[in-house]
């Protein structure tokens, strides 16, 4: 008994190991294209992650889903290879190339065996610089997206999020489904696809991270070959900034699920807000730490109300959100929401304890190296740091920023951020809200079909 207790005590006071001693190189190609590289030879694999600003939020309203459709089509034929030839070529060298459209970014990803490097980068280059958008591929992908669009509307997690964003943001681009609507995806033409690609996939809005078996000297030339033919400058539409209205509301979408799926949220903090790091630590204590958060303790451990409950910060380029999610059986929705509101109010009023802050710091700093254990995860970290303009030394500085957070910082940011009366709550299911005594009085809280767009017959 004493031995174990002693061991735990020792580990508590021992300093945590520094983040992996990896060398991040800034590689600038002869043609002026920059990438961050971690040269790592121990497995014969190269991973590249890239991002261009200009994601689904840049879609024209009547053609929402455009960026997403482009992301699905870039590997469906490029240069002199049609769709089948391109995909067979990828399989033959076992390379993986994929693209995706997020709200603010268009992402590309490449994974290749080191000995197939040049061919894999050539295929990637073809995909981004000369996609074909052949009619048969476009129509097939359009049909596949139509299926996904329709199937998403059957899923409670999709409905709850869609309802939340439309309720919060009305017709702001962030409120549109990134994959488009059944109508909008029929409006997208071949010319739209080519135009989006030309305007978005440029060099001045591009960030690149590479990890794996490739030395800096060889990467430089490869960057020019891969990205050199892209236009110098992007031409992106302006997306307006938006703040969330301060009003609490509960919107119910009635569907016959035994477990209500619940999303709650309010105004968050932008990534460059001076309170962002304190808010990040606060969120860990409130609902971010998987098995150690206050919400987990109160909702799951003590009362068995949910399998998963958690909160997170979602900072975007043009808006910032604080979100939480929980799923509980319909009969216990009111009770669960009441407890969550109470916990938010308590932290807003009293902040966090010294012990909670200490535990949060040792977790957040000690677990940072866990994000750097694979080539792929390192590449994603390097890309994220570039996107947020945090500087190439951020990996070294980051734990110091966490260590510097005080109880006072957290008390201030908790009071600023956690306003249970301002939560917008969306629920999909057949919830009983009756025991949630802290709800504001509103007619639309009754568990009856709301007039929300996602309630329209499908």
């Amino acid at each position: 008994m004493t031995r174990l207790a002693l061991a735990i005590l020792l580990f508590l006071v021992a300093p945590l190991a520094p983040v992996a001693a990896m060398n991040i190189e800034r590689v600038v190609s002869p043609g002026g294209i920059e990438a961050w590289l971690v040269h790592e030879d121990s497995i014969p694999v190269i991973t590249m992650e890239v991002a261009w600003t200009g994601g689904t939020a840049s879609d024209p309203t009547e053609k929402s889903g455009l960026a997403n459709m482009v992301s699905a089509l870039l590997d469906e034929g490029a240069g002199d290879l049609d769709s089948a030839a391109f995909q067979e070529r990828m399989d033959e060298i076992a390379a993986s190339i994929s693209f995706s459209a997020e709200s603010d970014y268009f992402r590309g990803s490449l994974q290749t065996l080191a000995n197939e490097r040049d061919e894999a980068f050539r295929l990637f280059s073809l995909a981004i610089s000369s996609p074909r958008f052949d009619e048969d591929a476009v129509e097939r992908i359009r049909a596949q997206i139509a299926t996904i669009v329709a199937r998403n509307r059957d899923r409670p997690d999709w409905i709850v999020e869609d309802t939340w964003f439309k309720s919060a943001l009305g017709d702001h681009p962030y409120a549109r489904a990134g994959e488009g609507t059944p109508e909008s995806i029929t409006q997208i033409t071949q010319a739209d696809l080519a135009d989006y690609t030309k305007r978005t996939l440029a060099r001045d809005n591009l960030k690149i991270a590479v990890v794996g078996a490739i030395p800096a000297a060889e990467l430089g030339a490869l960057l020019d070959k891969t990205f050199g033919t892209l236009p110098a400058e992007a031409d992106l539409p302006v997306v307006p900034n938006v703040e969330l209205p301060e009003r609490g509301e509960v919107v119910v979408v009635v569907r016959d699920f035994p477990q209500s799926v619940i999303l709650f949220g309010s105004q968050g903090l932008l990534r460059d807000d001076e309170d962002f790091i304190p808010a990040f630590v606060m969120n860990y204590i409130l609902g971010g730490g998987s098995f150690s958060s206050r919400l987990m303790e109160e909702v799951r451990v003590k009362r068995g109300l949910a399998y998963s409950v958690g909160t997170y910060l979602d900072p975007r380029t043009h808006a910032a959100f604080f979100f939480g999610e929980v799923g509980t059986k319909n009969e216990r929705v009111g009770q669960t929401l009441g407890i969550i509101r109470r916990e938010l109010a308590s932290m807003a009023k009293n902040g966090v304890t010294e012990a909670e802050l200490d535990d949060a710091k040792t977790y957040l700093t000690g677990s940072y190296p866990l994000r750097f254990t694979s080539n792929r995860s390192i590449a994603n970290q390097l890309l994220g740091i570039q996107i947020e303009n945090l500087g190439i030394d951020y990996v070294e500085r980051r734990n110091g920023l966490i260590e510097a957070v005080t109880q006072e910082n957290i008390a201030r940011v908790a009071a600023r951020l956690l306003k249970p009366e301002n939560l917008l709550v969306t629920i999909v299911g057949k919830p009983d809200l009756s025991t949630d005594s802290s709800l504001p009085e509103r007619d639309d809280m009754a568990p009856a079909p709301s007039a929300h767009p996602s309630e329209a017959p499908l």
Partner: protein
């Protein structure tokens, strides 16, 4: 914590992982290239396997127990998984809920998972914290302490987990029924999480009885992947795990043979919550352990060639050429102690029905049985599987999982390590032979979810 707002166009492979309750990793079960992992056995019978990866000063520490949902007694479905949850509720030395808190305080992450043939616990943590998590994991192997105060709310948590995974998901509920039809009275026909009417009756005593019988070092395997060598691990394993006395006999799993369906089964479910139909079919198939030696690696290639990716036969035919399906896939589940299964999955385009889809899938299967596979597609499939084994080495947790799953389902570390080489040796005739095993003379279970009320 960033979470994307909406699903982008996922390849249907990604959708499938969400849909199929089976295993997400290591379709091929094997990894290899590089050095084979070192294995040894402690005096008390506990097995140890080490997978070194020195790129980062981090380790993944896992303890696997040779017991799972398929080993529960009748009427107690869900017990293996329930106990997995309860293993975090404390011991004589660690207060309820403190286990995960101590791991987190030390910068680590922890969790656990239960399958039909195994239950496993893991922590990912800085290398210098390895002794701490070994000490704590060893402690809860024999000193679990449970009281109703912690157990009863956790039972509600498990019921919420079931609602989330199955009751709220019409396709998961269909698969639950299909498994029951395919495996009959064999425990693979039950839900791993258990059936609601039985979960609700599980007690603290049930959990402790199960724990006392199965949680013993001679029934456990330690796997550590990451920044550690066998020389470093051995003394630690002896210090923390080697001193634990055997407290129950080694569990020899002897289950009744599976009785496959004696006729084709079709399960059609209408569900007003869905607007889009889904089609699934399960065929009886041996597992990696029960298959004939020469057949074993050929099943993976069959699944890859028939419906593995966008160059596969089903995809080319149904999605690209005929425009009937939005997505189609085949997969092989061989990582089972007893027999596995071979699955087919298809979703139509928004305006399409299931009948024509099913006929088109069957036509492709018939064409393969008629003409076999060609050399080019076999070579491509081998490349994809071999590369998958190399890519898997990028992630220590993937590696630890793949070896653990293989060991728990009757493979040896050497077989797992050599798997990619064995895949390379498969011939066109091998693929055709296993295709006949799967599709000829068997009775499949077909499942459909359709929009609307039950008629």
């Amino acid at each position: 914590m960033l979470r994307s707002r909406y699903l982008a166009l996922l390849p249907f492979a990604a959708l499938l992982i969400a849909v199929v309750l089976g295993v997400a990793f290591g379709r091929s079960g094997g990894l290899a290239t590089g050095a084979a992992p070192v294995t040894f056995t402690l005096e008390n019978g506990m097995n140890v396997l080490v997978i070194p990866d020195h790129r980062a000063p981090v380790v993944t520490h896992m303890v696997w127990y040779t017991v799972g949902a398929a080993d529960e007694m009748p009427g107690k479905t869900g017990l293996a998984h329930f106990l997995e949850h309860l293993m975090f509720k404390g011991t004589e030395k660690i207060a309820p809920g403190e286990f995960s808190r101590i791991v987190a305080r030390n910068g680590g992450q922890d969790n656990a998972f239960t399958h039909y043939d195994f239950t496993a616990y893991f922590q990912v943590i800085a290398k210098d914290r390895l002794p701490l998590v070994m000490e704590m994991e060893a402690d809860r192997m024999t000193h679990l302490r449970l009281t109703d105060t912690e157990v009863l709310p956790e039972r509600d948590v498990v019921m919420e987990e079931r609602r989330m995974r199955i009751e709220n998901n019409p396709v998961a509920a269909l698969q639950s029924e299909m498994n029951a039809a395919l495996y009959g009275n064999h425990p693979y026909g039950r839900d791993i999480i258990g059936h609601m009417e039985e979960i609700v009756g599980l007690t603290t005593e049930d959990a402790l009885d199960f724990y006392e019988r199965f949680y013993t070092p001679n029934n456990a395997t330690l796997i550590v992947a990451g920044d550690v060598t066998a020389e470093e691990l051995r003394p630690l394993a002896e210090e923390y795990y080697g001193v634990i006395e055997e407290r129950a006999p080694t569990f020899i799993r002897e289950r009744a043979a599976i009785e496959w369906p004696s006729e084709d089964v079709r399960i059609t479910r209408h569900d007003p919550r869905v607007t889009q139909p889904t089609w699934l079919r399960f065929y009886p198939a041996p597992g990696y352990r029960t298959a004939q030696e020469a057949d074993k690696p050929a099943f993976d290639l069959l699944a890859e060639i028939l419906g593995g990716g966008t160059t596969s036969r089903l995809y080319r035919s149904l999605v690209v050429e005929q425009g009937l399906a939005a997505g189609v896939q085949s997969w092989y589940e061989g990582s089972r102690l007893d027999d596995g299964k071979f699955g087919l999955y298809a979703v139509p385009r928004t305006d399409g029905g299931l009948d024509v889809l099913e006929s088109a899938v069957e036509a492709e299967v018939a064409r393969l049985l008629q003409g076999g596979v060609n050399e080019g597609e076999l070579a491509r499939a081998k490349t994809v599987i071999a590369a998958g084994a190399v890519y898997a080495r990028d992630n220590q947790r993937t590696m630890a999982y793949a070896y653990g799953e293989g060991l728990m389902t009757g493979m040896t570390a050497r077989q797992i390590h050599e798997w990619p080489e064995r895949v390379q040796a498969v011939t066109q005739a091998d693929v055709l032979r296993v295709a006949r095993l799967v599709f000829e003379g068997t009775h499949a279970v077909t499942g459909e979810v359709l929009p609307g009320e039950e008629p």
